[in-house]
């Protein structure tokens, strides 16, 4: 209990000095939800303005803060009476799905910088390959954010997408996370040649590009020499429609395209994108499970974004903690704790102390409580 109160005190300290973040559009139509350190969760709350919302956060220092992707006529009513108007289209890239791992370390949130970089690579793929290239969205049509926990968010705010129902959103999820390779029945045959791509857009363009850049040895498809010949044929072709294989290569091509689909899909969290009433963490607030900020990121910032530096609370105070177990090296705001320091008592910046304690890697010592 003391530890929870100490964690809450850190968030109070942060919110007391934090600037009000940019408010969501149509703030009065959004439903807000909050979880608290005592285990309580309150939702169906609405605010008339961004400043009223921020006043609530500063006063109560909730553990987690969320608002709906949806806009409602009456956000405080229960789900049946809310009167759904429209909803942003959200995408969530979470470590567990993106890294396709059951690793308990990842599940419990102990992510290394390298893991975050892998997720970021998928995040850029989602952005460049799908949202920008296929869906034609520009930076004014979406907001990008670090979730504060294990991944990244995109909220597509463009009006065209706002009215899509769950079924249509599921089609978008399938397009991004399952992919589409041409069905053999769509292949065209001219004499002894088989042409798999009948247009140069969307998934055809992605798979053709992937084929041209593939290395036969790393595709996992055999026989290797046949795969090499298919790849060379793709490299010689000027466009997807010009690419052809022989009748004998069709089976290997299909396996190759399967590998290409696996490589170019992005494992977004289906539940988040499809749910038109989802509560998503509010940018500008602290993720109570990590002490890192959920914050928006500019399109140009992504490449250099480092959660442990650019999403830290940046508190100037320090806290004394006893390190009990540290499975990975942790660096927050340039200060590092290593697994070898388990068992020692150290004074570190408050952001790092919060991160370690909340992940059960240590505890505040009495002086800090």
């Amino acid at each position: 209990m003391k530890q929870l109160r100490a964690l809450e005190a850190v968030l109070r300290e942060y919110y007391a000095g934090a600037a009000q973040p940019q408010e969501p559009d149509s703030v009065s139509q959004r439903e807000f939800g909050f979880s608290f350190f005592d285990g309580g969760f309150r939702r169906h709350i609405s605010f008339r303005s961004g400043s009223e919302f921020w006043g609530f956060v500063v006063k109560n220092a909730p553990r987690d803060v969320y608002f709906s992707v949806a806009k409602y006529r009456n956000p405080v009513a229960d789900m049946h009476g809310k009167g759904w108007v429209a909803a942003d289209l959200p995408f969530d890239l979470d470590a567990e799905q993106v890294l396709r791992t059951e690793d308990p370390l990842v599940k419990s949130g102990w992510l290394t910088q390298e893991a975050y970089d892998l997720i970021k690579r998928e995040f850029l793929k989602l952005l460049e390959d799908f949202l920008e290239r296929d869906f034609g969205l520009a930076s004014k049509d979406y907001t990008l954010g670090f979730s504060g926990g294990r991944g990244y968010h995109v909220r597509v705010t463009d009006q065209v997408y706002a009215s899509l129902d769950a079924r249509m959103r599921r089609q978008i999820v399938e397009y991004v996370s399952l992919g589409k390779k041409p069905h053999p029945s769509q292949y065209s045959k001219v004499k002894a040649k088989v042409y798999p791509f009948n247009h140069a857009y969307g998934w055809n363009a992605k798979l053709f590009e992937w084929l041209k850049n593939a290395e036969a040895s790393s595709t996992g498809v055999s026989p290797r020499d046949m795969v090499q010949r298919i790849i060379e044929s793709a490299r010689r072709a000027g466009s997807p429609q010009e690419f052809s294989v022989t009748q004998f290569q069709v089976k290997a091509l299909e396996s190759l395209l399967d590998a290409g689909v696996r490589e170019r899909t992005v494992a977004i969290d289906e539940r988040v994108t499809v749910d038109v009433n989802r509560l998503l963490r509010a940018p500008g607030t602290v993720h109570g499970g990590s002490g890192l900020l959920c914050r928006n990121i500019g399109r140009g910032e992504i490449e250099k974004f480092n959660p442990f530096t650019h999403a830290s609370m940046r508190l100037r105070t320090r806290r004394k903690i006893r390190v009990t177990r540290l499975p990975v090296e942790v660096t927050v705001d340039g200060e590092t704790l290593t697994p070898g320091q388990a068992g020692s008592t150290v004074e570190v910046n408050t952001g790092l102390a919060y991160y370690v304690v909340v992940r059960r890697g240590g505890e505040f010592v009495d002086e800090a409580i």
Partner: protein
């Protein structure tokens, strides 16, 4: 339709453009019809004899229905194919299902022997339910107005092409029509489907 996507646009060729054009024309025509129905209701004051006649007819309706030859097939939703079950379930939850799914449901119900009123009733919980429009469209499917064609249920392949079939593969290895699936489900349950079921076309 499975169309390629590029820069936020669907890329059409000759065939897909024609099909999409037909779908859009249908939606446009329906919305014009909708508007006309609304306008006619708002502006015209019906002559008194229309009200008297409709009143007189309504009072006789129960008596007439006693002698009606319209067969009411015992409705057993557990024997519907999964597509129809899904459409009806979604409508009952107020989900706005596509026009073609509504058409399929109405034509299916007609073929298995449901009455027009029963079919209309199915649509009352749809999110954008409009009584006049629903009666008009169901009457059309029952061949009572317009071209007087009694519409039949689209086949499984057509439903798959329209992305409306909710299952992988087919309900039955050799059957490609929802009404046939319904008949088979009856046969498997040991009861005969009776005369109420009109033969599936194209199955």
């Amino acid at each position: 339709m499975d169309l390629p996507v590029h820069s936020g646009f669907l890329v059409l060729d000759k065939g897909s453009a024609a099909k999409l054009g037909a779908d859009l024309a249908f939606i446009r025509l329906t919305s014009i019809l909708d508007e006309k129905i609304k306008l006619s209701r708002g502006s015209s004051s019906k002559p008194a004899w229309v009200s008297r006649l409709s009143e007189a007819l309504r009072s006789r309706l129960p008596a007439i229905s006693l002698y009606s030859s319209e067969s009411s097939y015992p409705v057993d939703p557990s024997k519907y194919p999964p597509c129809i079950r899904l459409f009806i379930d979604q409508m009952s939850k107020g989900v706005n299902i596509p026009h073609f799914a509504r058409f399929t449901t109405a034509a299916f119900m007609r073929q298995i022997g449901s009455s027009k009123d029963e079919v209309v009733k199915l649509f009352t919980s749809a999110s954008n339910y409009n009584a006049d429009k629903t009666v008009y469209q169901v009457s059309h499917i029952f061949g009572e107005i317009g071209s007087h064609t009694k519409y039949t249920t689209p086949g499984c392949d057509t439903l798959k092409l329209s992305r409306l079939c909710p299952i992988e593969g087919y309900c039955h290895p050799r059957v490609r029509h929802p009404v046939t699936v319904y008949q088979i489900n009856w046969r498997r349950s040991g009861a005969a489907p009776g005369v109420g079921v009109e033969a599936a076309k194209g199955s």
